[in-house]
């Protein structure tokens, strides 16, 4: 709020990495804008990428909730993503062997419900044990879910996947017919490079709207949850579970809540993906998805939701950006290069910035309580990074509410 009210103050309050990320992001957006106007980047494809970035952001939020805050090692991101995706697809797709034709809201509920049950079933035997056991169990779960999807044709259509998935807004008043009712537009800002905004563009716009709603609601929920006594207990468990137990915290219950919450967010990403891509197959559950999400969280900064958001966008940029390498007649296959780039990125981040690009900056204290206490809510030393300005006395502006 205060960032909107006092943008100059908020800018002055930025740490060096925050300012750097802001600068790079603005430059990147300008580049995309130019690419859009020149026709080098299709407007509909751009919106698809935005949707994909939102999906990765959601997955990163989910893992951040588990690993970044509670220290739970979950290697089954792809499994929960797949459960959400298949749950939604099986309920709504024309080709669904067991159901199909239901309203996408039903698919959403089914996807989340199955993810909830699965998370609880995995959590019950593993969350009382050391973190390693959850890691091992989650690895197994990821493979089990992938193999079930691949082999149980009566349930999932096997390797053929599920087609004929409707848009999420199918059956909704107004929005279901919105793409058809919108007029086709032709923009020509750069002479000779017209940009067409037709039905696919408006359909993609709805997807962006959907992912913004999902990601926005998730971000706000997590922000409130993490800057609270609940979030503090999770962070304590991550640092020292015995301490939390000694102070009267039922760590098993907190870990279960964190694990289930993160898994639901991952499933939500899967539901969105189903209605974005309009097809799901076993390939969507490949372990590489889990790998990408882990990279996003580590890159952004464990425990930081805006870091997870940033990491998700970077991953999509690398993943999709490398597709165009062949356009420049680079004599190599971009797919391995993509993994190479991500590997190099992780090595560089681990070497020079192990805490991630945008680590948490704010204390996990309910915001109004900090405001009332009259002390700053963002320390200026140690693990809390120093600000751009010379304000080191701890009495600087509280800054915006736009980070955690």
């Amino acid at each position: 709020m205060s960032a909107l009210g006092d943008p100059r103050g908020a800018l002055a309050d930025l740490t060096r990495p925050e300012a750097w990320v802001l600068g790079v992001s603005v430059a990147f957006l300008l580049l995309l804008f130019v690419a859009l106007l020149s026709g080098a980047l299709g407007a509909t494809y751009f919106l698809f990428l935005v949707g994909l970035a939102g999906m990765y952001a959601l997955l990163s939020f989910g893992l951040n909730s588990q690993w970044g805050f509670t220290g739970l090692i979950n290697f089954s991101v792809a499994a929960f993503f797949g459960v959400g995706a298949y749950g939604a697809a099986l309920m709504t797709a024309d080709s669904s062997p067991i159901a199909g034709g239901f309203n996408p809201i039903v698919g959403l509920i089914v996807g989340l419900s199955v993810a909830f049950v699965l998370a609880v079933l995995i959590g019950i035997p593993t969350l009382r044990l050391r973190a390693d056991y959850l890691a091992i169990a989650s690895l197994g779960l990821a493979e089990v879910v992938r193999l079930v999807v691949l082999n149980e044709r009566w349930l999932t259509n096997g390797s053929a996947g599920l087609r004929g998935i409707p848009s999420f807004f199918a059956g909704w008043p107004v929005l279901s017919t919105f793409p058809q009712t919108m007029p086709g537009l032709r923009l020509e800002v750069i002479p000779g490079s017209p940009v067409f905004l037709e039905e696919p563009f408006w359909r993609a716009s709805l997807n962006v709207l959907l992912v913004l709603a999902f990601a926005g609601a998730t971000y706000l929920t997590l922000r409130r949850a993490h800057r609270s006594p609940w979030g503090r207990v999770l962070r304590t468990i991550r640092s020292d579970e015995d301490l939390a137990r000694a102070l009267g915290k039922n760590t098993y219950s907190f870990k279960m809540q964190s694990f289930v919450l993160g898994s639901l967010i991952m499933a939500l990403a899967g539901v969105f993906y189903t209605h974005l891509n309009l097809y799901v197959g076993p390939g969507d559950l490949d372990p590489i998805t889990t790998f990408y999400v882990w990279v996003a969280v580590i890159l952004g900064g464990s425990g930081s939701n805006r870091g997870a958001l940033f990491g998700g966008i970077v991953i999509v940029t690398i993943r999709e950006g490398t597709r165009f390498l062949n356009d420049f007649a680079v004599p190599i296959d971009p797919a391995p290069l993509r993994l190479l780039l991500i590997g190099v990125l992780i090595v560089v981040v681990m070497r020079y910035r192990p805490q991630g690009i945008l680590p948490p900056q704010r204390e996990l204290i309910w915001p109004s309580a900090v405001d009332d206490s009259g002390t700053p809510d963002r320390p200026t030393s140690g693990v809390r990074e120093q600000k751009h300005s010379d304000d080191r006395d701890g009495n600087g502006p509280n800054g915006g509410d736009d980070d955690e």
């Binding site: 929920t221 409130r224 949850a225 609270s228 006594p229 609940w230 503090r232 207990v233 962070r235 304590t236 991550r238 640092s239 020292d240 015995d242 301490l243 939390a244 137990r245 000694a246 102070l247 009267g248 915290k249 039922n250 760590t251 809540q257 919450l261 425990g303 680590p359 948490p360 204390e363 996990l364 204290i365 309910w366 109004s368 309580a369 900090v370 009332d372 206490s373 002390t375 700053p376 320390p379 030393s381 140690g382 693990v383 809390r384 701890g394």
Partner: protein, 295 residues
């Protein structure tokens, strides 16, 4: 071993017998709830009865029995390997005993999870200060209060006003206690950046936010410089005068003898003896346990 066993029995039975030290002044005992009618001290807030724990062939706790009277500072001493920390782990629920019982405030907490034991008013600290990565000192302090409304995920969305009020009150308490401990200047420092001695103070301060009836301190001044150790001693004494019962493990004999009364001596997992600092200091069995049979 047989000597130890005999001594245990003596210490156990002696609690109601003639060689029991003088009872300390129970100025705050009147307002405390009366515990169950178990033979022993009238106002025992913690009872350990015939506690046993073995790790493979090693007996770490061997039929340990003692009671801690409300309002006292009880020292738990013994040579290395005597089983002091194991005993703390058994009492606080971190280990499940092989036999025996632990009673806190009249409730049998044997086999309970540590958080359940804490809910009955028994809080502990650890030998090595637990630094909370990524947290400031005051955040670390705010983990202390028990049963905060904001620890319920649903409450964060259904009753944010209650959460805010509780958080404000807890923050005010945390800042007050930090000021009382003279470490309020550290409030917004990262908990990982302060010294080990300061962290011990923070741990004690944080434990007080949990409003314990019994606080187990595991080597509170280990590795702490003399100035901070003195400050810790002052704070423990002050908090004890306000009604908190302390049980502390400590190797610094000067510290423990000056602060604690009574003192329980452990040797090879058993209670060797129990008494006043003077009585323990002059007990030949204690000297032998510390210095070996040749002394």
């Amino acid at each position: 071993m047989s000597d130890s066993a005999n001594a245990t029995t003596n210490a156990t039975t002696g609690r109601t017998g003639s060689d029991e030290p003088d009872e300390p002044d129970e100025s705050d005992a009147a307002g405390s709830p009366q515990i169950g009618a178990v033979a022993g001290k009238d106002d025992a807030v913690l009872r350990v009865d015939d506690l046993q724990k073995s790790f493979g062939g090693l007996t770490a706790t061997d039929h340990a029995t003692f009671e801690v009277e409300r309002g006292t500072i009880t020292g738990l001493i013994g040579p290395n390997g005597a089983g002091k920390s194991t005993l703390f782990n058994l009492i606080s629920g971190f280990y499940d005993p092989d036999g025996g019982t632990v009673t806190v405030n009249g409730t049998d907490v044997t086999g309970m999870e540590p958080y359940e034991v804490a809910e009955h008013g028994l809080i502990r600290t650890f030998q090595t200060p637990r630094k909370l990565e990524g947290m400031t000192v005051r955040e670390a302090m705010l983990v202390g209060p028990r049963n905060q409304p904001g620890e319920s995920f649903l409450s964060l969305f259904t009753s944010p006003g209650t959460v805010a009020d509780s958080e404000s009150a807890n923050l005010a308490d945390a800042e007050r206690i930090l000021a009382e401990f003279e470490i309020d200047h550290l409030a917004t420092q990262p908990a990982t950046d302060i010294s080990g001695g300061q962290m011990k103070l923070v741990e004690l301060a944080r434990a007080m936010l949990a409003e314990p009836e019994v606080l187990l301190l595991d080597e509170p001044v280990a590795g702490v410089n003399p100035t901070l150790a003195k400050k810790l001693k002052t704070q423990i004494r002050r908090l004890n005068e306000q009604g908190t019962t302390f049980v502390l493990i400590e190797h610094d004999m000067e510290f423990v003898m000056d602060l604690a009364d009574p003192i329980i001596v452990l040797d090879q997992g058993s209670v060797l003896t129990e008494g006043t600092p003077e009585g323990v200091r002059s007990d030949d069995r204690v000297i032998e346990a510390y210095l070996g049979g040749g002394a």
